[in-house]
Symmetry: C2
Subunit: 398 residues, 2 copies
């Protein structure tokens, strides 16, 4: 019995891509993981979570463990709604769908709107797990480069005009991470955000605005594209993974209710009431504004340390851009293939994510790598960058 | 902007069906919910879950809240593997995929193997949420009736031979709940289990064996179809929802590794590490054999109470079959349309699930209803059946 004979056309197409999550060899324990895109132990409120669970069970007993779940699930929605109002996005409750991390939002949107005939636009580079999900639905990608002001919407406009003239298939969706972009750390300018919305209306496409890092600005808070979305073309994706705990897997999608309804339809029963109730209980106990402030300060200081280490050890070897928020610094090391030296770097004691994994066309990213300042201590960061610089120097001198 | 213009073909087809979960009007609070297919409060180990979370966090700190999650996730797999060995199913760890409830297993299998061209076989009646998920992928159902020995595999054989002769499309998958079937409570005989496997080999299809109720036998433990699956055509679905807590949303799929791999591919990141780790921590603390025994006794006694109430109040109005395990009794009331009297029954103080929702062809189920003996107290059960009998009598006399 050959299972492939039973696969659907889509499954066959999807499985021709690289298997998901296979983009990194295992990181040895002795390594300083600048690859790690998650919060440091000290920033995960695990004791508070313990309290949250305790209170939840004392108050609601079996409810959080039943299908229909606890009333605390509504607390999550309420928090999201109120927080979004402060960020300029005014929504009804029925316009918010709580999901198992922002990635379930990407999956549900894809499932509803993307099949093997669909063209979509992604930034180049883009969030690698996002690309993996999209590849499960289509191989038709249009890529738009990023510069220091985010997605080059002028380039997108040219491409769209050109495709229209030539009668080529037009994209249905544009996926963007406008604020503290993963992996580049850049933020889209307000003019380009407006331009993107204009293009959406002119060329009739929907936008996925992935704002997973939106709360983690250092100085200035960017205005979400969704806040200017008069045509209701934007799916706004948010997440508690970067600000509370990734393992809870709670995120959300916000959009016009007739765009949310089909997602809710497919999500049916792919729910996780206990995790959502735990988060709800935690949110009630926590001064989240204070927490956001604390996180911003810690990450800003972490970022400064990473940047000054790069200046000290790699100033003549590499270039990078100063992020204004988020988790990552995106480094370009001309003359180096970052995938090729990864194992050696890990043996020397430092890991990173090679740039190629963030590109639809991998060869565009060979000299790049992504460093995270969210997870390791500042002392470790300094050592890690020094180790990395030595590995790089050795290869440049060969 | 009309969102429908952006839908895929599949989305358009799926959304033409009834919206998911809309099969029951809200059950008023004063009602005795014989409709409730979940465990009673006293059977949900919420205090033990509190302990499990406390121990988990003390031992592993932030780990259960990170993406990669805790080591306790492996405890779940290990438990499943060892338990399945006792039930005659010997598997490698890589042949087990932990999922967000058994329903995510149904969804992942559907996603991998079913599209709008695929024919599948379901029992008539069948698990309504399962049918809802399948309908998101196809409308091509072949139904096979159930009698007191489960799915009538002789009927399936006739249908398959007939389709083959006529050169009609053949089904790729057969979905069955062989033990303590939802909603009928029946159990497939061992001969029919073997016959189904023979048919799978002869007519080249895969089998989904949904064993969500498998641990809840009253006297005799049925042998899973998977235990006899020499051809490796069976996806075995298990769940902790009926034996521990539905709101944790932890289930699993077990199958040959080349059938599991594509599911794992699509599942990517649709994980829930904190809930899995909590379950792992709970399993370490708990004598599960003792717990299973306790549950069997309670549910058997509940079932007896429900059946004797039916005998007392509805013996002349209705027929049903004695279940040998599970959660449900399936009642046939000739001359009554159970959907039509539901609101009145709820006003009188009792809820149930009307039979039609369990059928692909709803008209086949009009006189049936499903009663659950898992949730309400025995005293309430007796009152509820009395109330139901009065509503039924009133309608039969009209």
């Amino acid at each position: 019995m050959n299972p492939e004979l039973f696969f659907t056309k889509n499954t066959k197409a999807a499985l021709q891509n690289d298997p998901p999550g296979e983009w990194m060899p295992p990181v040895p324990k002795y390594c300083i993981p600048l690859s790690a895109g998650y919060p440091a132990q000290s920033l995960v409120p695990y004791n508070e979570m313990n309290e949250a669970v305790k209170d939840l069970i004392e108050e609601e007993k079996d409810l959080p463990f039943q299908y229909l779940g606890s009333k605390k699930v509504n607390t999550v929605k309420k928090f999201v709604r109120e927080r979004l109002v402060e960020r300029g996005v005014v929504l009804l409750e029925k316009e918010i769908l709580v999901t198992a991390g922002a990635i379930q939002g990407i999956d549900l949107i894809s499932r509803t709107f993307i099949d093997r005939d669909t063209w979509i636009v992604v930034e180049s580079p883009s969030y690698m797990e996002g690309l993996e999900v999209f590849r499960n639905y289509t191989d038709h990608f249009i890529t738009v480069p990023i510069d220091e002001y985010g997605m080059q919407t002028e380039e997108l406009e040219k491409t769209l005009k050109n495709r229209k003239e030539k009668n080529l298939p037009m994209p249905k969706l544009v996926y963007t991470i406008p604020s503290f972009h993963n992996p580049t750390g850049t933020t889209m300018s307000i003019d380009r955000r407006r331009h993107l919305l204009e293009l959406a209306s002119e060329f009739n496409f929907l936008i996925i605005e992935d704002d997973a890092y939106g709360e983690l600005y250092f100085d200035e808070r960017p205005t979400p594209i969704k806040a200017m979305d008069s045509g209701s073309r934007v799916f706004y994706l948010g997440s508690f993974s970067k600000t509370i705990a990734p393992g809870l897997r709670v995120g959300y999608v916000a959009a016009r209710s007739d765009l949310i309804e089909p997602l809710a339809w497919f999500k049916k029963d792919l729910d996780h009431p206990f995790a959502e109730a735990t988060l709800g209980s935690y949110l009630i106990q926590t001064d989240m504004k204070k927490r956001f402030e604390m996180l911003r300060k810690v990450y800003q200081q972490n970022c400064k340390t990473l940047i000054s280490s790069l200046e000290k050890y790699m100033g003549e070897l590499a270039t990078w851009q100063q992020p204004s928020g988020g988790y990552f610094v995106w480094v370009n090391i001309p003359g180096i293939n970052t995938s090729e030296i990864l194992v050696e770097a890990m043996q020397a004691g430092v890991s990173y994510v090679p740039g190629k994994h963030f590109f639809v066309h991998e060869q565009e990213g060979l000299s790049y790598l992504r460093l995270s300042f969210s997870f390791v201590s500042r002392e470790e960061m300094v050592s890690a960058v020094e180790i990395l610089s030595q590995v790089v120097k050795k290869h440049l001198n060969n």
